[in-house]
Amino acid sequence: MIDLPAPKPDVLARRDEILAGLRALLPGDGVITEPARVKPYETDGLSAYRQPPLAVALPRTTEEVAAILGFCHRNGVRVVPRGAGTSLSGGALPLADSVVLGLMRMNRIIEVDYANRLAVVEAGVTNLGITNHIAADGFFYAPDPSSQLACMIGGNVGMNSGGAHCLKYGVTANNLLGLKAVTVEGEIVELGGRHLDAAGYDWLGLLTGSEGQLAVVTEVTVRILHAPEGQRAMLAAFKGTEIAGAAVDAIIGSGIIPVALEFMDRPCIHACEAFAHAGYPLDAEAMLIIEVEGSVEEQDMLLGKLKEICSRFDPISLKVAQTVEESMAIWKGRKGAFGAVGRISPDYLCMDGTIPTGELPHVLRRIGEMSAEYGLQVANVFHAGDGNLHPLIMFDANDAESFRRAEAFGADILKLCVEVGGCLTGEHGVGVEKRDLMPVQFTPFELDQMRALKSAFDPQWLLNPAKVFPLEGNPVLRQAA
C-alpha cells in the first residue's frame, strides 16, 4: 500500500470554520460535507484506495474555482481536483484534510467554430460529449480513452490521455489549442488560445499531463477534425507473439500507419471471446485488430495491402470486414476486454507501461513467467503501433494477500518496461499508483528538479499533493508526514 502524508492538524482543528468559508463562496448545494454524499468522492478508478475528504466543492464557473482556490490557499488547505473520477492511477484520490474540487458541474460547450476547427468547452464536459455534440456535422474530437463515455476533458488534460487511435491522431496534448486555468493562489490565466504554437514558453504543454500539480484547468479549447469517409477493420491471428510482433513491424515498415493497431494475447482472446462471442480464433497465441480509414475503395486498397503483409507470417486466421457491421463485430470483443476480464476475475489491476515495440515478445514472455511466479493470471491488450501495454492482472480484493501480490506483480511489470527502454505510464498517469516507482525511471536529481518546478507553481504543495512524486525527499510534505 502507498503511504499518504498525515493530515495537517491545524486544518482539521479549523474544519468548521473552513467549511463555513467554503459555503459562503458556493451558496446553495455547492459544498458537500454529509458522509453519505461525500462517499462517491472517496475513491476513483483505482478503487483499492479510499479516503473521505474534508469536503467536496462543486463550482459552476471559473470565478468560483478561483474563489475556492484563493480561500484554500489563504487557509493552507490542500485541494484535489477531480473530473469524473475515472483515473486508474488514483489521480483523484482525496486526502483526509483536503477539499475535493469537482468540476463536473462545469459542463457547458461554450462554442463550436467549424471554420477554425475548434471547440471551447468547460472542464467537466465528457470526452465523448464533445464528439457527440459535433458528430451530426461530420466532426469529432480525436483522443478516445476507453473511459470516454464518462471521463471529462479537464481530467484528460490533467493526465494527457490517449486512446486506441493516437498512433494516427496523437494524444490530448497534440489536440489542444488553449486552456483557461486557475493558479493555486486563485489567479485566472489563459494559456495558448485559438491559434497554433503561441510564441513564448509552452505553458500549455507543461500543464498538460501535469496531473493537477501546477494549476486547475477550467476551460479547454480543443482542435476538432472532420471524420474520414469511413473506416473498416480486419483481424489477423498468429501462432506466436513473436510472429505477431514481426507482422506489426512489417506493417509499419510498409509505410501504412493504420488508424488503430491493437494486439491481444491468448488469455485476452479467450476472455473476450467468452464474453462477446466475436468469433475470435481460440487456437491463436496472438491477434491483431487493424483499422484503416478512407473511402470504400481506399479501405479496400489498404486492407488488401495489409492482408498481403499478414499472409507472409503464416496466419491462423485472416478476416477482412466487408461491411461496417462486420467491422463492429471484430471490435466488439476488444472493446469489451475490461468487462470480459472482470467477468472471469472478481478484480483486476489495469497496468499501463510503454515499451519499444521490438521488445514485445521478450516482455510478454517475462510477464508470462511472472504470472506463474506470483500465481496470478494476466491478460494483455496492447496498442501495438505505439508500444503502450495494458496487462490486466487478476486478483481478489477480499484477499489482502492477493492484492499485495497483484501490486507487486504490477510494479515488476513496470520496472521491466523501464528496463527495456520504455516508461512507467503511457496514458494513465503516475498518480499514487506508480508514485513510489518514479526513482526507477528518474535520478534523484531529476526528481528534485521536477519537484522544484512544481514548487514554482505551488510553493506550499497544496495542489493534489502526495501524487506523482515520492514523499521521500519532498521538501514540504515530508515535514507534514
Binding site: R194, D197, A199, D202, G205, T357, T425
Partner: protein, 387 residues
Amino acid sequence: MSDVLAPADEAGVAAAVAEAARAGEPLAVEGRGTKRAMLRPVQAARTLSLRNLSGITLYRPQELILSARAGTPLAEIEAALAEHGQQVVAEPPVLAAIFGGGQGPSIGGLVATNLSGPRRITAGAMRDHVMGIRAVNGLGEAFHNGGRVLKNVTGLDLCKLLTGAHGTLGVLTEVTLKVLPAAERSGTLAIAVPDLETGVRALSAGLGSPYGVNGAALLAGEAPRALLRIEEFSESVAYRLGRLREALERFGDAAVIEDVESRELWRGIREAEPLAAQPEDAVWRVSVQPTAGPGVVAAAGLPRALLDWGGGLVWLAGPATADSHRRVMGAARTAGGSFTLFRAPEPLRAAVPVLPEEGKVLAAIRERIRAVMDPKGILSPGRMYAG
C-alpha cells in the same frame, strides 16, 4: 566574433555551463548558428555551440523513433530517414531565404525554436513529436526527460518546456523524435481566388472535409491562390484531389499540380520563399485563428505577406521600423493571436518586445521557473524577453 565553446560531448557541455555559472558569465547557446539573427540579441560575450555534438544515436524505423545529438544537421537526419521512406513529421524549415545560407540547421536548433512547416496544420508541430530529450540546466547539471517510446506521461513534460525555449532554461544535448513514413505521392489543388477572405474560406472548407488535406496555404498579391495539398498513396491522391476539386470549385478556377511540382511548391512555402522578403525588410510570423489571417494582413499594412496553416500563420515582411512593429503587434493582439519578430536589424530587435509580453501572473511563474532551471541567468539571457 565572440569566443566560441564547442564541446564534443554532454559532459563537456555540462562542464562549460558549470564553469560559466560559477563565473557568472552568460553564454549564447546555439546549434549550428543558422538562426543567430532571430529574436533579441543575446547579451553574452561567449557562445556555446552544439555543432560538435553530432550524429544519430538510435534509429528504429519499425518503432518510428530516431535519436540524435543536438548538433546533428537536419540534412543528415532527413537523409537517414529517406533511406527507409520516412520523414521528420513537422516538415521543419531551413530558412535560407530568411537567414541566409550556411550549413543548414541542426535538429537541436529546430527543437529549441519549435519551427514547423506546412504539415503542422494537421500533423502537429516539432513540439508534438519530441518524445525525449537530454539536456543540461543552467548550473551544468545533466538530465533526461521523456524517453524513446511513443507514449509517455511519466512526470512533468520538460520536453515541452524546453521545446521552443530558444536555448534558455536548458541546453539540449540530444533529442528523440517520433518519425513517420513519407507519403508515396504529393498533389496540390490550386484555386484562383478573388481575395484573401475567399481564399481562407476555401482553405477552411478543404480542411473541414474528410480528405486529409495536410497543407493549406494562401499566396497573397495581385492574383491570390489558395493551395491545398494531399500526401497519400498514389491512388488516394488522385481520388481525393478529384473530390476536393468538386467541393471547392465554387471558390474559383481550380487546377491540379502533380507530384514533383507539388513537392517543390511546398518546399518553397515551407521556406517562406513566396513572401519574397527583401534584404532590408524585417520579417514577422503571426499566429492567429485561420479566419483572422486576412484581417492581420490588412491591419499590418506591410507590402509583403504569405499565409500558411489554413490562414492562421501569417508571414509579413516590410520596413524594419518601430512603427511597422507596432502595427503588427496591434494586429496580432486584435486577432487574439501571437507574434514573433522573426528577423530584424539588431537595434530594432533589441528595442522592442519580439514576442508578446506575458501577463503578471505568468511572468512571475516564468521567473520562478528560470530560478529553478537557470538561477544565474546565463543561458541565452535576453533572447526571448528583455531583462
